[in-house]
C-alpha cells in the first residue's frame, strides 16, 4: 500500500494522461467515424469503396501495429511535426493512431444503427424533396445515433483500455507508470496491480452506467 500512497501524485498524473488520450481520441473517432459512415452509404461508388477499404484495413490490423505505424510512418518517415515538444508530439501521434483505429469500429456501429431506422423514414424524407445529405443528416443519422448509444459506450470503454497501448509511441500513461512502479517496488506487485486495475474500473464503471442509462433514455420508441 505504501507505494501507492507515496506515489499517489505520479499515478494521478499518469491517469490524467489516460483520460486526456481517451477524451481527445473519442471525439476524433466520433467525427471520423460519422464521416466514414456517410461515405459508406453515399451515392458515389468511389466514396463507398474508399471508406470500405479503410474500415477493413483499420479493423483488422492490431492496434499495436497501428500505433507503431503512426510512430514510425507519420512521425519518423512522413516527417510531420505536430509539436516542438516531444511529449506533446507523441501525445498527438497516439491520438491519431487511436482515432484511426477506433473510428473504423464507430463506423461499423453507426452503419448497423442505420439498419434499425425504418425504410419509411428515408422514403418520407425523399418524398419531401430532401437530397442525400439532408436525408442523412436530418432524418436517418440522428435516429441511428440514438439506436447505438450502448455500443458506442462499449467502444468508449474499449478505447479507455486501449490507451494503455499508447506506450509504444512513448506516451507516459497508466501502463508505463505501472511497469515502472513494479520495477521500483518489487515487493508490492499485487497492491500496485490492484491499484491500477481499480483506477480503470473507476474510469470505466461510471461510463458503463451512464451509457446504459442514456441508451434507455435516448431509445427511439417504435
Amino acid at each position: 500500500m505504501e507505494a501507492l500512497l507515496t506515489e499517489g501524485g505520479t499515478i494521478l498524473a499518469a491517469f490524467w494522461m489516460t483520460v486526456r488520450l481517451t477524451a481527445v481520441s473519442a471525439l476524433g473517432s466520433l467525427v471520423l467515424g460519422t464521416l466514414l459512415t456517410a461515405m459508406r452509404v453515399a451515392p458515389l461508388a468511389s466514396l463507398r469503396a474508399t471508406a470500405t477499404a479503410y474500415v477493413t484495413v483499420a479493423r483488422n490490423t492490431p492496434l499495436t501495429l497501428v500505433l507503431l505505424f503512426t510512430g514510425l510512418g507519420i512521425g519518423a518517415n512522413l516527417g510531420l511535426e505536430l509539436s516542438d515538444d516531444i511529449a506533446t508530439n507523441n501525445f498527438w501521434l497516439a491520438v491519431i493512431g487511436l482515432t484511426a483505429y477506433t473510428s473504423a469500429f464507430v463506423c461499423e456501429a453507426l452503419r448497423s444503427g442505420l439498419n434499425t431506422v425504418p425504410v419509411g423514414q428515408a422514403e418520407a424524407a425523399r418524398s419531401l424533396g430532401l437530397g442525400f445529405v439532408k436525408t442523412l443528416a436530418l432524418i436517418t443519422l440522428p435516429q441511428a445515433f440514438r439506436a447505438v448509444v450502448a455500443p458506442l459506450g462499449s467502444l468508449l470503454i474499449a478505447l479507455t483500455k486501449n490507451t494503455t497501448i499508447a506506450l509504444v509511441v512513448g506516451v507516459a500513461e497508466a501502463s508505463v507508470r505501472m511497469r515502472e512502479m513494479i520495477e521500483t517496488y518489487g515487493d508490492q506487485v499485487i497492491e500496485i496491480f490492484l491499484g491500477f486495475a481499480a483506477g480503470f474500473v473507476l474510469l470505466c464503471l461510471p461510463m458503463g452506467l451512464l451509457f446504459g442509462w442514456l441508451s434507455k433514455r435516448m431509445a427511439v420508441a417504435r
Partner: protein, 269 residues
C-alpha cells in the same frame, strides 16, 4: 445490403454531377497518395532493396513464418484456455447458488474492465516476486489473453444461454435431467451454437491482441517483422505493411467464417 433508399436514382444531371464529384474524390486520393509517396521517397522508402527482401524465401523462412508461428501459438493457446475459462465462468454465473454466482460475476467483471496490457505486465514483471520464477513472455501473453478474452467469452455464452426459450430447460427437467445435465447436455450446446458468430469475432480480437506480446518481447509476427526484418534491411515501412497484410488476410478469413456461421444458424432457426 443496400442503402439506396437514402437517395433517388440520379437523373441525367445527377449522373453528370456524380461524375464530377467522383473526379474530385479521385483527385483528393491522388493528392494524399502523392504526398505520402514524395515524403517516403525523400526517406528512400521506395527503393527496391527495401521491398525485394520481402519476396525472398529465406526472409520468409527466418522471420515471417516463425513469427507467424509465434503469433498463432499464443492465439491458439489463448483461444483454447479462454474458451475453457468462458464455459466454466458462464456456467458459474448462471448458477442457482448465490455463493457461486456472485464471486464468478465479480471475477468476470473485473477482468473485463482491466486493460489487457496491465494483465500481461502483472504476469511478466510481477511473476518473480509472486511465484519465485520469471515466467516466459509467452506465458504472460497467454495469461492475459485467457483472463481477458475468457471473461468476454463467458458473457457471450451466458447471453446465448439466456436467449434460449424457457421450454428447453423445462423439457430437460421434465425428462428427468439434473441441473448439471440440463446445462451440459441441453443449454450450453445450444447457447454456444447461437453465439458462434460473436465467438469467432472475439477470436479475431484475441488474435489481434496477441500482438501486444511485442511489448514484452514475445517472439511473434510484429516482433520478427519490426525487430527482425527491419533491423536487417532497414525497411521498417515495407515490413510493417507486409505484417499488417498478413493480419488482415487472416482476420478477414475469420470474419468470413463468422458471417457464414451466422447465416447458417439463422437459416436453420
Amino acid at each position: 445490403m443496400s442503402y439506396a433508399n437514402l437517395y433517388e436514382p440520379p437523373g441525367p444531371r445527377g449522373v453528370a454531377r456524380n461524375r464530377v464529384l467522383t473526379a474530385f474524390v479521385a483527385l483528393a486520393l491522388l493528392a494524399v497518395g502523392y504526398f505520402v509517396y514524395t515524403r517516403f521517397d525523400a526517406k528512400d522508402q521506395w527503393t527496391a532493396e527495401k521491398w525485394t527482401p520481402l519476396l525472398r524465401g529465406d526472409v520468409w523462412l527466418t522471420f515471417i513464418l516463425p513469427g507467424l508461428a509465434g503469433t498463432l501459438a499464443a492465439a491458439v493457446a489463448g483461444v483454447v484456455l479462454a474458451a475453457l475459462f468462458g464455459i466454466v465462468f458462464a456456467t458459474a454465473r448462471l448458477s442457482d447458488h448465490a455463493w457461486i454466482r456472485v464471486p464468478a460475476a465479480t471475477v468476470v467483471e473485473f477482468f473485463r474492465s482491466v486493460p489487457l496490457l496491465l494483465l500481461i505486465f502483472f504476469a511478466f514483471f510481477g511473476s518473480f516476486v509472486l511465484i519465485g520464477v520469471n515466467v516466459s513472455a509467452f506465458a504472460a501473453v497467454v495469461f492475459g489473453l485467457t483472463l481477458y478474452n475468457g471473461s468476454v467469452i463467458a458473457e457471450i455464452i451466458r447471453a446465448g444461454v439466456l436467449s434460449l426459450p424457457k421450454g428447453q430447460r423445462e423439457a430437460a427437467y421434465a425428462v428427468g435431467m439434473r441441473k448439471g445435465q440440463a446445462m451440459r447436455l441441453v443449454l450450453l450446446p445450444q447457447g454456444v451454437k447461437a453465439m458462434l458468430p460473436a465467438l469467432v469475432s472475439q477470436f479475431v480480437v484475441l488474435l489481434k491482441d496477441s500482438a501486444l506480446g511485442f511489448i514484452v518481447g514475445y517472439d511473434e509476427l510484429v516482433d520478427r517483422g519490426l525487430n527482425g526484418i527491419a533491423a536487417n534491411f532497414s525497411n521498417v515501412i515495407p515490413a510493417a505493411v507486409l505484417i499488417a497484410g498478413v493480419f488482415i488476410v487472416i482476420n478477414m478469413a475469420l470474419d468470413r467464417l463468422a458471417h457464414r456461421l451466422g447465416a447458417a444458424s439463422s437459416g436453420a432457426a
